[in-house]
Symmetry: C2
């Protein structure tokens, strides 16, 4: 069995340098929450509307010419799909994306618009990992996982390098606490590697808080069969990866779960106060702070990780206040 | 009678330098519209949610200590109010804002949160200019008009200096055409001064296109008594100012009017494609481009001028697609 490459801080720095050459830093907002100025990084304003563009870029640029010629395959509910499609288009690589049939139309359309081939699957009856693996094998293409990959994790961590520089420039001091949405844990693990002196809190929807339970247990626990429906399509990961779990576990990261109502309230807050469209999964870190489930402290950095919404569903959230 | 100070390009450059010392540049997005890459400047992401912070800062910093001690008075439907309140708070100046009683709650709350005193008036029966003038006279305070003032116009123009630098850095070339929302014309006139080689198109809601008619007539024409209701509260100006009209008229600026439906479509487009909350009045320039009323050309710069929405009304717009 091949040795699995582990993500490293040096890799995050390399990723940050590569990302900085093609993408301007996403805006960093400051907001007073719980009497403290909290830094909020708007990864929703990336060209594909999510931080996933970072990991995809770091991964795809690491492929050699032979691998690039054979294309890439990814499975994703949408944001990773668009990140891979964006990077592939820019590098002239063919991309095939395996997406659930019930993915938000915006994410599907965005992926198609970037020139990727989309293969649909039924979330209830089919295994996307298996479909993607079969496709990749048949074509000799490279599988680009959405979080279970050292390059992808390092790439997502570039957001932390960027945010630390912005916070220093804004006089907000060093990052003392990272608060990040968590699906498979790629973003949180990357940030943890990027910022070795900061505390790490991952935030998940209630019932989908498998990373929280895993960190408490000391081993990986999957999402339960009784997980309730959640609007956070980007965070519906059944099982985290040893790569992300190990990084977070060794750092003593802790997890917090937020309710659907808390997430919706955070989306409304972001629309009204920051004038940003944030998708449910992208708003959970902010939700945890606003709900008092994470105590804001000086040097807190929260990630607004994505902004790809279904307009009708988003309108319902905005009316719900 | 005192000679009215005229806005100048040198004043705009001075304003841009002053603004750059306290506010980071607002993000510039690129979007493919009509086969051309158009630059969209998100002034909605200013701390108060609109470009008005620029003019307010340039005006208030120009006051001497004696004037600062007596405070400032402004009349505004909301965005200028928040801009003046923000600048006044930062400079330790007392601010009184005369606002219509039907101004969006967000704008009123934002103004109060910035420590300003708010005086309400009835848009139908009272004259806000008269109320503001009386208040200013009684207190010896300085009246800060929302557009009829050289400093305010110069301040708004700083957005053009900023955008030109961003477009050059992004390889988008020089600005060939400015497309700007127009209420009293302060933003458009400031941009025209900032970018002397660009064509200028101002965009107004249908029926409120008094600047368009004025530019065609060669003299200032007010809004007609039969102007229909508009969601663009920020652009409901009854009469433009000689200061803004003269700048735009001499530059051969032209006007375009957009429908409420076109404006709403642009708000939806901005939410879905840019993940930005844009208020109706802030979306009219984008609406003109998307509706084909302004032909996009290489070097086009459109301003997304504000993002302060009433959430319920905004949700209705998002559902309307």
């Amino acid at each position: 069995m091949a040795v699995v490459r582990q993500p490293t801080r040096a890799g995050v720095r390399d990723a940050a340098a590569k990302v900085a050459r093609i993408l301007p830093p996403t805006p960093l907002f400051t907001a007073r929450i719980g009497g403290v100025d909290v830094a909020l990084k708007a990864e929703s304003l990336q060209p594909v509307g999510a931080f996933k563009i970072r990991g995809a870029w770091h991964r795809l640029t690491a492929l050699d010419d032979a691998a690039r010629a054979k294309g890439v395959v990814a499975f994703s509910s949408g944001n990773h799909a668009q990140g891979v499609a964006w990077a592939a288009k820019r590098l002239g690589i063919a991309a095939t994306i395996v997406m659930p049939a019930d993915a938000p139309a915006t994410k599907r359309d965005g992926t198609l618009a970037l020139g990727a081939e989309v293969v649909s699957f039924d979330r209830a009856t089919e295994d996307r990992v298996q479909i993607a693996r079969s496709l990749a094998e048949a074509r000799g293409a490279t599988l680009v996982p959405s979080f279970d990959d050292a390059w992808v994790i390092e790439g997502q961590g570039s957001a932390g390098v960027e945010a630390a520089a912005q916070m220093a420039a804004a006089g907000l001091g060093p990052v003392t606490r990272i608060v990040a949405p968590c699906g498979g844990g790629g973003l949180a693990a990357g940030l943890a590697l990027a910022l070795p002196d900061a505390g790490v809190t991952v935030v998940e929807p209630e019932g989908w808080d498998d990373m929280r339970r895993s960190l408490e247990a000391g081993w990986i626990e999957p999402v339960g069969d009784d997980a309730p429906p959640t609007a956070c399509d980007a965070l519906q990961t059944q099982r985290v990866s040893p790569l992300t779990f190990d990084v977070l576990s060794r750092r003593g990261a802790e997890g917090v779960a937020v309710s659907e109502a808390e997430t919706a309230a955070a989306q409304r807050w972001a629309a009204e106060r920051l004038r940003l469209v944030i998708e449910p999964g992208g708003a959970v870190a902010l939700a945890a702070l606003l709900a008092g489930k994470v105590r804001p402290e000086s040097g807190t950095l929260a990630i607004l990780s994505g902004g790809n919404v279904d307009l009708a569903a988003y309108a319902t959230v905005l009316r719900g206040g």
